[in-house]
Symmetry: C2
Subunit: 550 residues, 2 copies
């Protein structure tokens, strides 16, 4: 028999909280509120989405019990895991069963690819029950196949029809929801008779906008990372001998680093968006970190915590340029490169192939990083930016800088560092109460959008800083979040990614306190996620959400 | 004002549970139970500890309220952090105040060095209250200075006398408690009038024996690591594309890896003690891992979890021999080595300096590891074994092995791996209920040993699988745990380190299930430590403790 942890056994009993609209006896009706426009490039987006552009925002109001014909629904988990995925599915399941106990839910396996390849499983009550309030996407698995071609859509439709599926829910990030919008438009255009509804998922926190306050998963993942950062900070303060450089997942945006920074108050929190806005060089960043280390050393504090967003490198303008040039060099002159065995010779050959500025930067990098940039290539032959160990790069360069400062008598400490990278540790944690409730409500709302006949919508639950009963469920047209962006040399309609707003309250809060946090020691230790006990502990909202919406 | 997390605020209210003997109205009397002998080398140990050898085991019985003269006590945190350190100190404080409200407690700062350098702080009720049930050693800091020379003892005594301190409590691992025993003997011999009491601390779990069931900190640290391993396992199962190689702190013994393995049921749990006992080579270990990966690939499972104890390398007999030879080479022929700049040439020079067997092993290592072995040296000029990234070494070698298997048609998968190292994440976590109670009870017991006039004892709390009220408090003579071992070319009395017992029940349990866990997917997700809620969740004992004592 499968062994289940004690916590999981107890947590299975948790009943996620729902917005009041869904806890009444009756049914709900959709209320339409005016026409919408896309966030930018309205004309182009309107032309591309002739069927689903300009749909109204949807909210719900209570109605008498309505009896609906039974319907079969499909669900897909797309992209990286995020805590709460299983609760979206159980909310969807419960919502569908409340509409009509005959409704059936099918899960496509291994992500969007499962739809095209017709890999699926019917999700029964017994199965759903063993996954309630658990982490992971393992109930049906996830995958990164992109649904973007008409032949995929057609093949998918064939499979949907064979199962009698009339509505499809796609749980994913900005890309997957963009594709959900395109699929909704296509099925509408060919009169396929299949509704498509999206759900906002990503730990990165970069799928948010005026109508979507946060994606599910961000709350839990940042709580896990903050637990670990707090523990490490307490260790640093106790042992008083290490600087810990901690890289945090979140490929483009720095929301995760910012949230963890606000929760734990480390000495330094780097924000990629700020680095880019200020046009900072790698040297500037190194100087800033070394400066703080020297200042703390003056006060006898030879320890500290630095948070580094995963995407940092690509936001440093000169590094971005260097990587672009290196990609060209690799693409066009790799046989010359491969002819050199001696690493020193190879590095000077590379630098001679670059522009003066990029060449100078290249030779200033630590040797192992310079080698790594050339050696590790992705399947398209490009530099593998995500493989660059930014945390080690910074440690090495900061160490060199401090040596130089020491020679000038401007630094007297001993610099010892440890590096960490947190990502996989948080993506499949069991959801916090907030994410358990929010994800469940998103799934339940998706069932209501299906029940009221909508397509081309993202499930939306707002007013999230209030207690769950006061949350506002509804639907946001997917086209409303789109604009046109250049991708791989083509103009494409995409849901706009939310980067850290340098004028927003969360970043303002960091800015206000960071000079003090840098030099003094103001660590906060959030501890692990609690599922039982005082509500102020179990139901805490993220700092980001609270600052943005309260 | 200092910001405290919500969880910490709520957790501050927790009242640690105590053995019944300490919850009565009256005082306690020490009961002596027979003479003791050291675990080995009795004659030598007896000679070295003429004053404190053979002391009886101590237990307590209730007595009428006894009034004692006020006494000043000192406390020291020694070595690496472990969850519960602050609770030992608060238990000691509360116990001392119960003996006599006039009693005072002084903490020496930054570890044993604080005693010698006379750096201290009086620990008042207000101060203690802000540290109850928190992680870290930051109330007084810790350090790794070893108290082993008479001049340190004399200097320390001077400082103790100046503060009127009559008893000293040293909270540390096997080495620190060995030194506590030596200090107790010395102060007894010179009639210093200072009692010395030790407390068993270490997350590594290697300070245990017939009389000490476990050290405090092991429970919490392994719970934190298991939370993360479970989350990563769930991610592996959801994404189905990575093998995660996870190294776990625990320098010599593999108790941490074993405990986490039993809690989370990963595919592979390496146990250093078994590797040594079987005389396994690095190649054997690589073959075993690659074999399991190939078996899972046959079933379409291209993912998995491998747990690696930090000390593994030193338990592989051929690696131990290689490192010994490398240390000789570095010590005697470093100028020759330094003359080579080209890494290929340097590696072949090194291998020519080694015995045939060691040379062959050296050149079979991945190049970056071979370079690292020569480059990174500790302050004594030795190979920095702890810097070897075993998890990356294994990934690289397993990858090569799988390539070879693929060429022979014996492996058909795609091997992608991620590496992790967990250590600092768990050492300063807020203690679990078990560690909060146990550490507090150890501190309280230390106060009782002081009150009953004992010296040369380790505070002991047994029967730990029972509810706390049934725990048995007492004292174990430090000499009873000692034997003679060769250290740095000298025979020394030391407390015997407890390695994983290959005939013990915890390892038996792993052995019984590991073939199934390897090929099937039987992950368990323990989730984060819970401080509130159902008692079976909050008060769970470690698998190791339960299997050894129930």
């Amino acid at each position: 028999m499968e062994k289940i942890s004690l916590l999981q056994q107890e947590r299975a009993k948790y009943r996620p909280k729902l917005p009041a609209i869904f806890t009444g006896e009756g049914s709900v009706l959709a209320v339409e509120r005016g026409k919408t426009e896309s966030v930018d490039d309205q004309e182009t987006v309107r032309t591309l989405f002739s069927k689903t552009y300009g749909l109204p925002l949807i909210s719900f109001e209570p109605s008498e019990k309505i009896s609906l014909e039974p319907v079969n629904v499909g669900v897909i988990l797309s992209g990286g895991q995020a805590p709460g995925g299983h609760n979206v599915i159980s909310g969807l399941f419960d919502g569908l069963k409340a509409l009509n106990p005959e409704n059936r839910l099918y899960g496509f396996l291994g992500g969007p690819g499962g739809l095209v390849e017709n890999k699926y499983r019917e999700l029964t009550a017994d199965m759903i029950n063993t996954y309630r309030n658990t982490g992971g996407f393992d109930i049906i698995g996830s995958g990164r196949t992109k649904l973007e071609k008409e032949e995929q859509f057609d093949k998918g439709l064939e499979n949907l029809k064979a199962l009698g599926i009339k509505a499809l829910v796609i749980i994913g990030g900005d890309d997957s929801n963009t594709n959900a919008g395109i699929l909704a438009e296509y099925y509408q255009k060919i009169d396929a008779g299949v509704q498509v509804i999206g759900c906002p998922k990503t730990i990165d926190g970069d799928l948010k906008n005026e109508m979507i306050e946060v994606s599910f998963g961000f709350d839990t993942a940042t709580k896990v990372y903050s637990e670990l950062i707090g523990n490490i900070a307490r260790d640093a303060l106790s042992a008083k001998k290490y600087w810990h450089f901690i890289k945090l997942m979140g490929r483009s945006a720095s929301h995760i680093a910012l949230e963890c920074g606000l929760k734990t108050q480390p000495n330094i929190t780097l924000i990629s968006e700020e680095v880019e806005a200020k046009g900072m060089t790698l040297g500037d960043i190194v100087d800033e970190i070394a400066g703080t280390i020297a200042k703390r050393a003056e006060k006898g504090k030879h320890f500290g915590i630095v948070l580094i967003p995963e995407g940092l490198i690509e936001f440093i303008p000169e590094m971005k340029a260097l990587i672009g040039e290196l990609n060209d060099v690799i693409a066009h002159r790799s046989s010359e490169l491969d002819s050199k065995d001696n690493p020193d010779e190879k590095r000077s050959l590379v630098s001679s192939m670059l522009s003066e500025k990029a060449g100078a930067l290249y030779v200033s990098l630590p040797e192992d990083i310079a080698d790594q940039l050339i050696m590790d290539r992705d399947p398209h032959g490009n530099v593998q930016v995500s493989r660059i160990e930014t945390e080690k790069l910074l440690i090495e360069m900061v160490g060199e800088k401090l040596k130089a400062l020491k020679e000038k008598g401007m630094y007297t400490g001993k610099f010892s560092a440890q590096n960490h990278f947190f990502g996989y540790e948080g993506r499949c944690a069991a959801p916090s109460n907030f994410d358990a409730d929010y994800a469940y409500a998103l799934g339940y709302t998706a069932s209501a959008l299906i029940g009221t006949g909508k397509t081309g919508y993202m499930s939306s639950v707002r007013n999230l800083t209030a207690p769950a009963s006061k949350w506002i469920a509804g639907g946001v047209p997917l086209t409303m979040m789109m604009n046109i962006e250049r991708r791989h040399g083509e103009d494409k309609p995409v849901i706009r990614k939310a980067l850290v707003d340098l004028k927003g309250k969360p970043f303002e809060m960091l800015k206000k306190h960071r000079d003090q946090w840098a030099v003094e020691t103001c660590y906060v230790y959030p501890g692990p996620i609690q599922y039982f006990g005082p509500e102020d502990v179990t139901d805490q909202r993220s700092e980001t959400l609270t600052l943005e919406h309260e």
